[in-house]
Amino acid sequence: MSAVLNTLSLPEHVPLSVPRTARPLTVIVAGNPNAGKTSLFNSLTGLRQKVANYPGVTVESKSGNWFISGNGPTVRLVDLPGLYSLDATSLDEKIASEILLDGSATKADAIIVVADATNLIRNLYLAMQLIETGRPIVLALTMVDLAERAKLKIDLAKLSDELGVPVVPIVAKQRRGLKQLGQAVLDVALRGAQPSIDVKANRDSSPQNNHSRLIQRYARIERIVSDAVETRTEDGPDISERIDRFVTHKFLGPVILLLVMLLVFQAIFSWASLPMTLIDHLFSGLGNVVRANLPPGVFTDLLTDGIIAGVGGVIAFLPQILLLFLFISLLEDSGYMARAAFLMDRLMRAVGLHGKAFVPLLSSFACAVPGIMGTRTIESPKDRIATIMIAPFMSCSARLPVYTLIIAAFFSGKTVLGVVSLGAVIILTMYLLGIAVAIVVASILKRTILNAPTPPFVMEMPPYRLPNFGNVAQALLTRSTVFLKRAGTVILAISILLWALMAFPRSSAPQSKTAEGAVQIENSFAGRAGRLIEPAIKPLGFDWKIGIGLISSFAARETIISTLSIVYNVGEGADNKSASLVDTLRNARRADGTPIWTPLTGVSLMIFFLLACQCMSTVAVVRRETNSWRWPLFMMGYMLVLAYVASLVTFQGGRLLGFA
């Protein structure tokens, strides 16, 4: 029987020798990407996790409490982004390595280095670097069940002896080995740091020295692994390589990628619609209840029109965001994302970007916020900024209500070539237009202000694995908490501000219930601003009422629909498909009797919404991710100019061509 099996079959009720220390311990979990770090972290902490930012930097850190035993010390477990080496390249890795090397920021009592038993040589490289620093380390060997199946025999005692640190095999999903891991961590934490090996050489970071230390390290690892691991002889390509024969096939590969993308979009747009409607009804019902039970007045208006409607409108996007994250984590966990980047790298390079930029850009079709957060895996800072700058051009789900409204009002019931609905063609065109603009902008940025040498594309293609559903659920839970927190703070504040702009100064003229709203909004600060910008937006085909919509939609695009309903006197609770708003838009007339809204106005508005950066959340996340106001302001500015010019060309060009 192999050593792996022997250790794993230890009974789990072995009493732990618990040290008497009242001091809470901090333990860091570090390891290569795809080594099973998250599974281990989740198994150890369960639902007791919280997401916070690392001190001084803007990257999220996950931490949670690990109860090793009933009477032991409290252990705070910190999960780091995956890294291959302490000499970091990407932002994620830099943060991880800073935290590992800097004792003061997060003082760790022990480090658990997670290593994939099926990919031991490369995984031990980081472990070796950390062991050389002399910090208290336990090596957690993951995927031992897969290693057994691959007939890898690992002599744990020998491995532990040669590395000089305890080695504990675990199977996180089945909770095998977790107690032994706890015991080992407590042991090393109490023993404290060891003198680091070869301190002088470590401080000398000249390239020659790095180079020779690197080769020495790998030579040592290879010697240890050949001593401690009995490998089977290679018997042809493994299962992942067989799957890749289809998934990255010359012709099939791109087809499969397209199908996967279609599936994701279909799911986000159709599966999410029922829960979205439910949330919508829930909040409008809540608003009605509040309105019915409170005396009319400014406070009630603030509560219903400002807070409940504003926050509810944003929370309605939660189902779409959750579905998107569900798919992203499934694709990521299964190993498919790396294949998508592999297929797309050549095309992405044509615009000066990296295959890894494909995934965040794909995410941005649902929402630019997670997409922008996903750019952290891109190594080159300039490439990362370029990707962030073009992410909002991917038509996100918040544009969809606007497109739907315009299509319902002006293009419904028409078909192209007798079969395809014109609406579908228009939506597809908007998506493609967004991509085209992104390509052009990326090329320009990469040749001018973000000019930099082509960054390396070195990416692990992890073996295909069944996604761990516990991890996926955990990720979704964390995502919703973060999103709801944001809806409760930033978005709440903006909702109140926008409401105030539309509610003040108060109009005193007594009017009928619906007309009251219209008069109020016309005389409000927002209404005045709409009139103020009317000369500027008239060449785009917009009147001051649309102007109010543009102003209110700065915070979030979909707000324009509720604003238009108010300005155009449509009753409460109008949504984008409501017949009344559609009819009102069709029938709205200027003083001289000409229609305000024509199909051309609609197209011009859609193009404006495609290109302008009307999303506070995006601006906020760009500010956070780039750590300066420079980039978000630049993004808002250039996108606004682009949107203005494109709408101007569309409207004036369309009129010259004889469209109305």
């Binding site: 080769i215 390396p456 070195v458």
Partner: protein, 75 residues
């Protein structure tokens, strides 16, 4: 002979890595060290990047990066 020019599914041995470029060290950190056996698995549909197998795991890299790695084919 460099890593980008060996035929598919042939195992070669790395003889040297040009680390003058900024990413040479990165490649070595990922296990592309002299002496290690490496196999070219396939190229992406548009010919670039390429997928290799090193130390029993798979890595994708562009041809420009692969050309910094000198290999000899076992005979």
């Amino acid at each position: 002979m460099t890593l980008d020019s060996i035929p598919n599914n042939v195992t070669a041995r790395i003889s040297s890595v040009d680390v003058r470029g900024a990413h040479g060290l990165r490649l070595m950190e990922m296990g592309l060290v002299p002496g290690a056996p490496v196999r070219l698995v396939k190229a992406a549909p548009l010919g670039d990047p390429i997928q290799i197998c090193i130390h029993n795991y798979h890595l994708a890299l562009r041809r420009t990066e692969a050309s910094a790695i000198e290999v000899t084919i076992n005979s």
